[in-house]
């Protein structure tokens, strides 16, 4: 079942076109991986899904992106509501320089999700548990989030993202700043999360895409070259360019 349906998405940075007619169907409660060489537009596409491109003044998005029949690329869309439903985890862990508790409680606070202190405590605990961080930080929730290790910080960011129970989580190379052990933890986490959440992950690591995703899309020079089940993309791609990239002949 399709959660997000993008049709003919074109993105321009000023006069430079970054995405060309991208159409893609992202299935619900699955992990979709977007791969491709640097500068191919995969992050740009990801940022269309929660309208983070709004921040970039010269950026212009054309085409239709529908989430559950709601048009995302519309002026009338309430971006705040959208981002409550579509969480995001960034390349570099970026916890707020506040306490671990405050980091996780921030979303529920601004969206008025918790009615009482107990409820908030509960949300913080569940989110941290889902992010597999609870056991490591439960005794030091009032410590500053930026004091954690890189991998812990990234899991804190995931906990922060899931604290508002989003339907979709976007991950922009979430493991690129992490060591292999922390990466393995995050990948395991992604596997768990997909039972409840739709995940779109941009990654440079093809092995990661192969491990965690069910569908993979290959981007090159702003075009979606090939999109399909991960198995097929990696074992038997239709397109020669995909074949070359997967086998490491360019990129």
């Amino acid at each position: 079942m399709s959660k997000i349906k993008a049709e003919n998405v074109n993105v321009y940075y000023g006069s430079k076109q970054a995405l060309f007619d991208v159409s893609i169907d992202i299935a619900e409660k699955e992990v979709t991986a977007l791969i491709g060489p640097s500068g191919c537009g995969k992050s740009t596409f990801l940022r269309c899904l929660n309208r983070m491109n709004d921040v970039i003044e010269i950026c212009r998005v054309e085409g239709s992106i529908k989430m559950d029949n709601l048009e995302l690329n519309s002026r009338k869309l309430d971006v705040v509501r959208l981002r409550e439903n579509v969480g995001m985890v960034f390349q570099k862990p970026n916890p707020f320089p506040k306490t671990i508790y405050e980091n996780v409680a921030y979303g529920p606070t601004i969206h008025g999700i918790a009615q009482s202190k107990e409820e908030m405590d509960q949300i913080v605990e569940t989110s941290l548990k889902k992010a597999a961080l609870w056991n490591e930080v439960k005794d030091r929730l009032d410590e500053i989030g930026t004091g954690l290790s890189g991998g812990q910080q990234q899991r804190l960011c995931i906990a922060r993202a899931i604290s508002v129970s989003p339907e979709v989580i976007l991950m922009d190379e979430p493991c690129s700043a992490l060591d292999p052990i922390a990466t393995a933890q995050i990948e395991e986490l992604i596997d768990d999360l997909k039972k409840e959440v739709t995940i779109v992950i941009v990654t440079h690591s093809m092995s990661q895409a192969a491990r965690v995703s069910q569908k993979t899309g290959f981007f090159h020079l702003g075009k979606l070259i090939e999109f399909g089940p991960t198995d097929k993309i990696f074992k038997n791609p239709d397109n020669q360019q995909t074949q070359d990239y997967i086998t490491g002949r360019f990129g």
């Binding site: 983070m52 960034f90 993202a161």
Partner: protein, 423 residues
């Protein structure tokens, strides 16, 4: 390695050594200038923190005080006539002096000696009818003689203290009746035409009020302007134009702001002349660009990843700014503010133009009372000829420098203690 290469290497090392020496010499020069400057100020000014008193005896004679009542009330003491009592206290130092020469003795204490005689009795009503010792503020000239600042071996007509006065001084000094104590009145008294009575209380309070007014006007305006320009305003030609103008404003000579204060605040808005209110607003015009620039720089220094994190959580622009960016930029903004205020603290020219150069011998209680300010006080005193004011100028500079050092220290502490470190 051939000899050419060796030579080249040697040259490079020599060049580096030479360069390091140039740097050391430059620093040495700067430090020695500072040392000379400090030595000048301290050697001239430290004596201003000592005050010279002449001890004599006063007889609170009811008849001379013109008090009739058997047990006089406070009002009676207040309204009594102290002229004769005070006069006798001084002339008793040399009973043999002919009456027409008495001015020579009276001149050895400050002109306020009569008030000092009165104050002692008001504080101790039981002294009435008794003979008690009293400390009187020595005149500026005696003060300078006691501090050794006046040469005694020049001809009498070139001296401000004549032979007779020196003789009395030596006699008193031998008796131990010349006291030198910490000069409290320098900090508690307003300005005076007499060097021995002049203090910095008025100008200090004037400076404090001016700085507070300046802070109250410039900080909110500057921070709001900086936040708007940095976080909300579209980046276009118009905002570029504003940015250029703010930077230019920071370079405008302060006297121009003084003229603006004179022309607008005094002439158009009719605000009270010579007051810290006007001074503070004028200074805030100068501080404004400094704070805006500091605030914008520290807003810019907040990593974009923090903004993205907040926006991606569904925070609005306003929430992102107020919950994250602004609190994170505050240490930088505050230290910039303090440095801006420290600059304003030392400003003289604009304050002179708006009339804070007036002679004020009251201590201001509110920002709308007339006052001077520390740098203007330095300027006023440096125009006075008496030797007593020379040391007061240096002492006032020391107080101003201490004030500045404290503020800069505060800026450093704010920056280092509250600045957040990220990952």
């Amino acid at each position: 390695m051939n000899s050419f290469k060796k030579n080249l290497l040697k040259k490079r090392y020599n060049a580096e050594r030479r360069f390091q020496w140039y740097g050391k010499i430059a620093i040495g020069l700067a430090l020695s200038f500072l040392a000379v400057f400090m030595f000048q100020i301290f050697s001239k000014g430290y004596s201003a923190f000592q005050k010279t008193w002449i001890v004599t005896e006063v007889h609170y004679d009811k008849e001379l005080l013109l008090i009739d009542a058997e047990s006089p009330s406070k009002d009676d003491l207040e309204n009594a006539d102290y002229y004769d009592v005070a006069y006798k206290a001084m002339t008793s130092l040399d009973p043999g002096l002919p009456e027409e020469e008495d001015r020579q003795l009276i001149q050895m204490v400050s002109y306020k000696y009569e008030a000092e005689v009165k104050d002692l009795l008001l504080k101790n009503p039981d002294y009435l009818g008794k003979i008690v010792p009293i400390k009187l503020t020595a005149s500026d000239d005696v003060d300078q003689v006691h501090k050794g600042n006046y040469p005694r071996d020049i001809p009498e007509e070139d001296r401000r203290v004549n032979d007779y006065q020196l003789q009395i001084y030596d006699m008193l000094n031998e008796r131990g009746d010349i006291l030198s104590e910490f000069n409290i009145s320098f900090f508690t008294s307003p300005d005076s035409r007499e060097a021995e009575l002049a203090g910095i209380a008025s100008s200090f309070m004037g400076t404090v009020f001016s700085i507070l007014v300046c802070l109250a006007f410039s900080f909110p305006v500057a921070v709001l302007a900086a936040i708007y320009l940095e976080e909300f305003a579209p980046k276009n030609k118009f905002t570029d134009f504003i940015e250029v103008n703010i930077n230019n404003l920071a370079a405008v000579p302060s006297i121009v702001f003084g003229l603006l204060g004179l022309g607008v605040l005094l002439a158009v808005f009719n605000l009270p002349r010579s007051t810290p209110l006007v001074g503070g607003i004028t200074l805030s015009l100068m501080t404004l660009p400094t704070i805006i620039i500091a605030a914008r720089a520290s807003l810019k220094a907040v990593p974009p990843s923090i903004r993205e994190a907040a926006l991606a959580m569904g925070a609005s622009n306003m929430q992102t700014t107020m919950h994250h960016t602004v609190p994170l930029s505050m240490p930088g903004t505050l230290s910039g503010t303090i440095i801006g205020l420290a600059q304003a603290l030392g400003e003289t020219a604009p304050l002179i133009l708006i009339g804070m150069v007036a002679f004020v011998n009251t201590i201001p209680g509110t920002p709308v009372d007339p006052a001077a300010s520390l740098p203007v006080q330095i300027y006023i005193w440096s125009e006075s000829a008496e030797r007593g004011f020379v040391e007061k100028v240096s002492a006032c500079i020391m107080v101003l420098l201490a004030f500045l050092i404290l503020m800069n220290l505060a800026a450093q502490i704010v920056r280092h203690k509250f600045e957040k470190k990220w990952s």
